[in-house]
């Protein structure tokens, strides 16, 4: 049996110097192709079944101001509803600007502050970072905790003693471990995957931060946002979340020519006076983020 075409060529039909092109057909099937299967099929399929290498390299990101200049330290101010206004049924935050509240607003006594009781020192705020500002679908990426401090803000200038709790601001200063060795460093740097940032458009990667204060005195978790632009008596979900909500503060991680930085980028509501984010204070003071309690 032949599996090729059969042609008869007569000499008289051919001119001088004729050539005949013969097609090199490759449509044959080897009966035993085990070697081919191993090298071309199995090995390839095995290779296809192996997961690609994912790069888990994380880097330090340093905070920057609005001009992407790295800052040495910055401050968090937390402002809660005052007990008096809660009691009289119309909750209001302390002050009218971007100042912090005081420790008496959340129930601490002078002894707590002076003696650094466990319930004081174990209270902290958590900055949680999500991939999107939509609560129903976002994923928690990472978080950072900052514990209560008795720093210069909380001390009398002359004696160095802790201020009375109704004067002791709820503020937290975090600083660069090299440039500001005397400050608290937890919460200053962010740590994230290098390749995710490098492969993002413009090498900028966006996450969204939410702040919660954990009060060890009463076990309560307070939600705070970097804006006062909401009606305490009519809080709606769409006021809180989304790109223009008040609780999600956009944070951009950036590879700036090999220097990895991040900065807080407030939306319109978070930028309203008094602003929640002031990274370039005109008076030369320390860059400050202020968060206000949302639900009383």
């Amino acid at each position: 049996m032949m599996y090729v075409n059969k042609r008869k060529i007569l000499i008289r039909d051919m001119g001088t110097g004729s050539t005949i092109n013969i097609a090199l057909g490759t449509n044959f099937f080897p009966v035993d192709n085990a070697e081919l299967i191993q090298s071309k099929f199995v090995d390839e399929e095995v290779q296809n079944s192996i997961n690609p290498i994912i790069d888990f390299k994380k880097l330090i990101f340093k905070p920057a101001d609005n001009n992407w200049d790295i800052i040495r330290k910055f401050k968090f101010n937390l402002n809660f509803y005052t007990p008096e206004t809660i009691n009289n049924g119309s909750p209001e935050h302390r002050g009218t600007g971007s100042e912090p509240g005081v420790y008496s607003d959340i129930g601490f006594s002078f002894d707590d502050v002076f003696c650094r009781t466990n319930r004081f020192t174990n209270s902290f705020f958590r900055l949680s970072f999500y991939d999107t500002p939509i609560s129903s679908e976002n994923v928690l990426l990472f978080f950072t905790d900052v514990y209560t401090q008795i720093g210069k803000d909380q001390q009398e200038k002359e004696s160095g003693l802790p201020l009375p709790v109704n004067q002791s601001p709820i503020s937290f200063v975090v600083g660069d471990p090299v440039l500001e060795p005397n400050e608290i460093h937890e919460g200053f740097h962010l740590y994230w995957f290098k390749d995710l940032v490098d492969s993002s458009p413009n090498k900028e990667y966006e996450v969204y931060a939410v702040l919660q204060f954990n009060n060890a005195l009463n076990g309560r978790v307070y939600e705070l946002g970097p804006s006062k632009d909401f009606d305490v008596n009519n809080i709606q979900l769409n006021t809180l979340e989304g790109e223009n909500g008040i609780i999600y503060l956009k944070v951009t991680l950036k590879n700036d020519n090999g220097i990895y930085k991040y900065r807080f980028e407030p939306n319109t509501k978070q930028n309203k006076v008094p602003p929640g984010v002031n990274l370039n204070p005109s008076d030369g003071t320390i860059p400050t983020l202020t968060f206000w309690q949302i639900t009383p």
Binding site: G17, N21, G25, L36, K40, K57, S159, V178, L179, Y260
Partner: protein, 672 residues
């Protein structure tokens, strides 16, 4: 068939056409895919896949810590620099001399305790003493520490690798062109008695790398026998022992079995080479090339709980930049087995607007560029070699007037891409490099070197080895590839290359003769040979992670280990020029000031009511140096003069090798 072509001969197309040869392109495409005839089960080995990926990866990520040992025993001047009002009432940078009695050492740093209240510390009450804050003299923390708060790095860390070698440097000056390529120079000879007979010993200018029983060749030595029976150039000599008469100095002295009167040497000309199974070693300098270049290649931050025994802050680093060693070859053309964590002192290490920087630049303003606008001299390189005025590249001698003709590696800058490095011995019968001498970098402040003529600087070793792979401890048996080529008459170069690969002959193999090779295998990561050689480190995210724990020791160039007491006679009182009062005060401000004493005991007795033997720190112009109403009193002012091996100008502070118990007069309790 997918496609059918009909091809007509030319004479079939038109009546008068003639047939010609015709070429037809036929694509050889195979669209079939072999399918297994049966079900096939295959097990994928996670371990094998891991090994495969690890073997294929050439990416390295380095992180770790640097344990520094840094202080400032070599400082510009014992002054406090501050801003104040001048006589005209305008703000000006001023200085105040710190009396010898107020100079203190704290954790190795030389400086003073501030005599003015730190208002900020006082007000904030942050438990920092408002009075007794220690300030080092310049260069201080802001210029020397690995981690300092001015935000301007003091050192640059690079990853480098040896990429070429040079053998043209002249370690000992000579007129006949002898270089390191000719072996290790001899600088002295000694005789030594062993078992009742005399042997000859030689001292080398650098580490010789010899062991007892090694063979050496003696090159350009002088045969003092009458019949030239030593046959210096025709035989090798066995090293009887290493070390000198007292069995010390084993790294640079050795003894051979030749009577001392029979052999001699010419300095700079006579050299030795180690011999392994009849083959002389080669000697050369490795040169290093930078893989990383910038400060942005890594993060530097305080290590957790990072304080060394000497209270230096341990610095942690993490290289953001991945290091890819693919296609990189070392100086011998081999795949890289070593990288180097290279620490380089930089020049722009402090705020140019700080009052301290401004003060020193003002002092240097009359110097020629670039010395008028930089704090540090540029770096020079050399080795820790024997003290001899004919020796080049002796880093400890730099600045000594007796070594003015010496050669060094000059004008080294942290931004350089290529650096001269260590001195290596390599023997073709061992196929391993041995480091004989490490390179040192040296720098000093411009003020010290150019203005006050204090020429002792700081030195350090910049290169720290990172062993990324190791060579096998055995040499692969010799492969006579030529015999294969001859047997099968293979001459095609491409075939030869392919055949070499199939024989497993690496491209770095040493060619004994034409197509006869030997080599050492490079152990894969995780592979350990019979004697435990091999490397093992984590492989994650497609990269090799290596933790490095390195030291950085900033040393004195020539620590003065000896001292003498010197005295200067001075007259005080109403009968001597008033300049003597200033002179006396300047003596008290010398860092090396020790004490003063009266020439005559009667002077002491007569003055005791006026002055007593008060501490110099309490001196004022009114209570001692005037001696109002007193006739001339002669005093001897005593100083401690420290000196080291080299003439590098006045030394302000003793080396750590000096026993200061005789001189100790005060401690911190005297001030605070």
């Amino acid at each position: 068939m997918e496609k059918t072509n009909k091809i007509l001969l030319n004479n079939q197309r038109l009546p008068n056409n003639v047939n010609v040869n015709t070429q037809l392109q036929i694509g050889l495409e195979n669209t079939n895919k072999p399918l297994p005839l049966n079900d096939i089960d295959t097990t994928v080995s996670e371990y094998e896949q891991f090994q495969k990926e690890r073997k294929e990866s050439t990416i390295y990520r380095f992180y770790g810590v640097i344990n520094p040992l840094i202080s400032n025993p070599i400082f510009n001047d014992n002054i406090k620099i501050y801003e104040g009002l001048d006589e005209g009432g305008s703000v000006k940078i001023l200085n105040k001399k710190i009396f010898s009695s107020n100079i203190f050492e704290k954790d190795g740093w030389i400086g003073y305790y501030n005599d003015e209240i730190d208002e900020d510390a006082l007000q904030s009450n942050d438990r920092k003493s408002a009075l007794c804050e220690f300030f080092p003299f310049d260069p201080g923390y802001d210029r020397l520490k690995f981690l300092d708060s001015d935000g301007i790095p003091n050192y640059l860390i690079k990853i480098t690798y040896p990429f070429e070698s040079r053998n043209d440097i002249v370690l000992v000056r000579n007129n006949v062109g002898i270089t390191i390529n000719d072996g290790i120079p001899i600088i002295s000879k000694f005789s030594i008695e062993l078992n009742g007979r005399l042997y000859t010993g030689f001292k080398t200018v650098m580490n010789h790398g010899l062991s007892d029983g090694d063979n050496i060749s003696l090159l350009n030595f002088i045969d003092d026998t009458l019949d030239n029976s030593l046959k210096l150039n025709k035989r090798f000599f066995r090293v009887i022992k290493v070390g000198n008469r007292t069995n010390d100095d084993k790294l640079r002295s050795f003894v051979i079995d030749v009577e001392p009167q029979e052999i001699n040497f010419n300095i700079g000309v006579s050299t030795i080479k180690r011999v392994v199974r009849g083959v002389e070693s080669k000697y050369y300098i490795r040169r290093f090339k930078s893989i990383t270049t910038n400060y942005t290649d890594y993060d530097l931050y305080p290590a957790a709980y990072g304080t060394s025994y000497f209270t230096d802050d341990v610095a942690a680093f993490n290289f953001k930049t991945d290091i890819d060693v693919k296609d990189l070859k070392d100086n011998l053309g081999r795949p890289l087995t070593e990288l180097y964590l290279t620490v380089l002192k930089n020049d722009n290490d402090a705020d140019q607007n700080s009052i301290n920087t401004q003060y020193w630049l003002e002092q240097q303003k009359n110097l020629d560029p670039p010395n008028n606008n930089r704090f540090w001299t540029s770096m020079v390189g050399g080795y820790d070699l024997e003290k001899n005025e004919n020796v080049n590249y002796n880093i400890r001698s730099y600045g000594d007037d007796n070594y003015i003709n010496s050669l060094y590696y000059e004008n080294i800058d942290e931004s350089d891409e290529i650096f001269d490095g260590d001195i290596i011995e390599y023997n073709d019968n061992e196929l391993l490099e041995r480091v004989l001498e490490n390179i040192y970098h040296r720098f000093n402040t411009v003020y010290r070197e150019k203005i006050v003529n204090k020429r002792e600087g700081y030195i350090y070793t910049p290169f720290n080895i990172i062993q990324i792979k190791e060579f096998s401890n055995y040499i692969h048996p010799i492969v006579n590839f030529q015999s294969i080529l001859d047997k099968y008459n293979i001459t095609n170069p491409n075939e030869i290359v392919e055949l070499k690969k199939s024989f497993g002959i690496p491209d770095y193999a040493f060619e004994l003769s034409t197509n006869v090779y030997k080599w050492r295998d490079i152990l894969e990561i995780g592979e350990v040979d019979g004697i435990g050689d091999g490397v093992e480190y984590p492989f994650i995210s497609g990269a090799h992670y290596m933790y490095l724990n390195e030291r950085y020791y900033l040393q004195r160039q020539d620590p003065p280990c000896e001292f003498t007491i010197t005295s200067k006679k001075l007259g005080l009182g109403s009968q001597v020029p008033p300049e003597n009062e200033d002179l006396f005060l300047s003596y008290l401000s010398e860092p090396t000031y020790l004490n003063y004493e009266f020439e005559s005991e009667s002077d002491w007795a007569s003055s005791i009511d006026n002055v007593g033997n008060v501490s110099p720190s309490k001196l004022t112009n009114n209570d001692l140096i005037n001696y109002n109403g007193v006739d001339t009193i002669n005093i001897f002012v005593n100083f401690v003069s420290f000196f080291g091996d080299y003439n590098l100008g006045t030394r302000d502070v003793a080396g750590g090798c000096v026993d200061l118990s005789l001189l100790k007069q005060k401690d911190i309790d005297d001030v605070c």
